[in-house]
């Protein structure tokens, strides 16, 4: 099937965000970032450049961290999207969230959603990554506040708590 989208017409796409199917109507020039924030009111995903230069907009697409500011939302039909809003289980924080809150992994909190999602993807694959792996994994997320060290500690602690839970 060749889906041709005519100019200046909104498109209707079914997105699966945090496990929920939603039909969304939007202008086809919108990136996933814009659709999440502006059409779906999921403002937890942040933006600092919209050009791929900061990592604030990172979300998971089929479990892989990507920059939502450079993903065309029309290309997301049928794919699984995870945002920070989907991290907690009900009112219970994800262990990573709890660790970030406890250990100074978040200061202004603006880079936090992007880093949390990136870290989640890492831990889903590698439950016990070393410091070096963590440094590499979040090297595409700029944080201007923390100097990253408390972020590493938060991820390490989150990983530890997740392993505990898995036992």
């Amino acid at each position: 099937m060749n889906a041709v989208v005519e100019a200046r017409r909104n498109v209707r796409v079914t997105l699966r965000v945090n496990g929920e199917q939603t039909e969304v109507l939007f202008a086809p020039y919108k990136t996933l970032l814009e659709v999440l924030r502006e059409e779906m009111n999921l403002t937890g995903t942040k933006h600092g450049c919209e050009l791929g230069e900061c990592g604030a907009c990172a979300v998971l697409l089929d479990g892989v961290p990507v920059l939502s500011c450079l993903v065309l939302a029309i290309e997301c039909e049928g794919r699984s999207i995870e945002t920070v809003e989907g991290l907690a289980r009900g009112s219970e924080l994800h262990p990573l969230q709890a660790a970030f809150a406890d250990l100074g992994g978040t200061q202004c909190g603006y880079c936090t959603p992007g880093i949390l999602m990136t870290a989640k993807a890492l831990l889903d694959k590698e439950p016990d990554p070393g410091r070096e792996r963590i440094r590499e994994a979040i090297s595409g997320n700029l944080c201007r506040c923390t100097g990253y060290l408390q972020i590493y500690e938060s991820i390490e602690e989150g990983a530890r708590r997740m392993r505990e839970e898995a036992k």
Binding site: N2, E34, E50, V64, C69, L72, I74, E75, E136, G140
Partner: protein, 344 residues
């Protein structure tokens, strides 16, 4: 928020269909793979295609065939993400230079999105060009887009924007080829021949052609390495890329060698005489220094990227040294850590 302009969007499922749409749409259409180069460019209005033809769903572009022909060659689909390339064990083992290049592109997120094909077709870069429309208007534009002068070399007839792909020099050193597919046929060219030394017309690919795969020659006897200069451990494009591949006999004598440079011209290129210089010798410090000096003489960095140009030129021979010493088997881990800021 930086936003894309309006465009039409096609999402073909097959290569043939993609090629047909591309041919039909004409030069105003562009292919989009990962979009990590094209979308920022469109947001800044460098490129404003009226139609995008997405390669995301096109079948077959993500294939990896490893020595299936029995000749030790390897074929990588153009639609593989750079992360796919980095995580491919065979690439790591046999084509270290490609692995090192791919692993140093942009950031983990961008490597999860950006493709090998897109990396090879990356637009050239210049800090008079990679700016918003309003900024470019303030300098009265430049030759590459909307204007007529080149601010980097005001007397120049051509644009000297920099080729900034990391994988291309690595692939050139490895002697790789690419396959180009169009509605009218298919052809193969060496990666080196994919490029023109022209910041505007930087690809020899015709507008109706789709790059479908990269063919790597058999690796036996070869060792390769890639060293990238950039300010930070992530994000930054190369301001110098040195790729080397060397085939040595069991006694350590060089039988064949190729050194390629990236980010010091409008195309990545093979430094012609450098390989010949090493052939028949062992990779001694002297031979390495000699090759370094020769390669450095071919680097012509321009004042349109990060860091001081004289300095960038000045460090080329050191970077050639790092690459050749790594190939020789020296323990370069400390240097690698200092330059790349992570292990590779």
């Amino acid at each position: 928020m930086m936003r894309l302009p309006w465009f039409r969007h096609h999402a073909p499922d097959t290569l043939a269909e993609a090629a047909r749409i591309l041919a039909g749409e004409g030069p105003n259409a562009m292919l989009i793979a990962g979009g990590t180069d094209l979308l920022p460019n469109m947001k800044r209005r460098h490129q404003s295609p009226s139609a995008l033809i997405s390669l995301a769903r096109v079948e077959g572009l993500k294939n990896i065939s490893n020595g299936s022909g029995g000749n030790g060659e390897m074929r990588l689909g153009a639609g593989l993400t750079l992360s796919d390339v980095v995580h491919c064990a065979a690439v790591r083992e046999k084509y270290a230079g490609l692995y090192q290049a791919a692993a140093q592109v942009a950031t983990t997120h961008l490597r999860n999105m950006g493709t090998l094909g897109g990396n090879l077709c990356l637009d050239t870069r210049c800090n008079y060009y990679n700016q918003n429309y309003e900024w470019r208007k303030a300098i009265d534009f430049c030759m590459k887009k909307d204007g007529d002068i080149c601010w980097v070399a005001t007397a120049s007839k051509r644009c000297v924007a920099v080729s900034s792909t990391d994988t291309a020099p690595a692939l050139i050193a490895l002697g790789a080829k690419v396959r180009l597919f169009s509605a009218t046929g298919e052809r193969e060219v060496t990666v080196a021949d994919l490029y023109n030394n022209d910041g505007m017309d930087y690809l020899t690919r015709r507008p109706d052609e789709i790059l479908t795969s990269v063919l790597l020659p058999a690796a036996s006897g070869w060792n390769s390495s890639y060293w990238k200069l950039r300010r930070r451990g992530a994000f930054d494009f190369p301001v110098l890329g040195v790729a080397a591949a060397v085939k040595t006999a069991s006694d350590g004598t060089v039988e064949e060698a190729r050194i390629a440079l990236g980010a010091v011209a409008s195309r990545p290129f093979l430094v012609e005489k450098a390989g010949g210089l090493l052939v028949g010798k062992a990779l001694t410090d002297d031979a390495i220094a000699e090759a370094g000096a020769l390669v450095a003489s071919r680097a012509k960095p321009m004042d349109n990227a990060d860091l001081d140009i004289y300095w960038r030129k000045g460090v080329v021979s050191s970077f050639v040294g790092y690459a050749l010493r790594e190939i020789r088997g020296d323990d370069m881990r400390v240097t690698r850590l200092r330059i790349a800021r992570h292990a590779l």
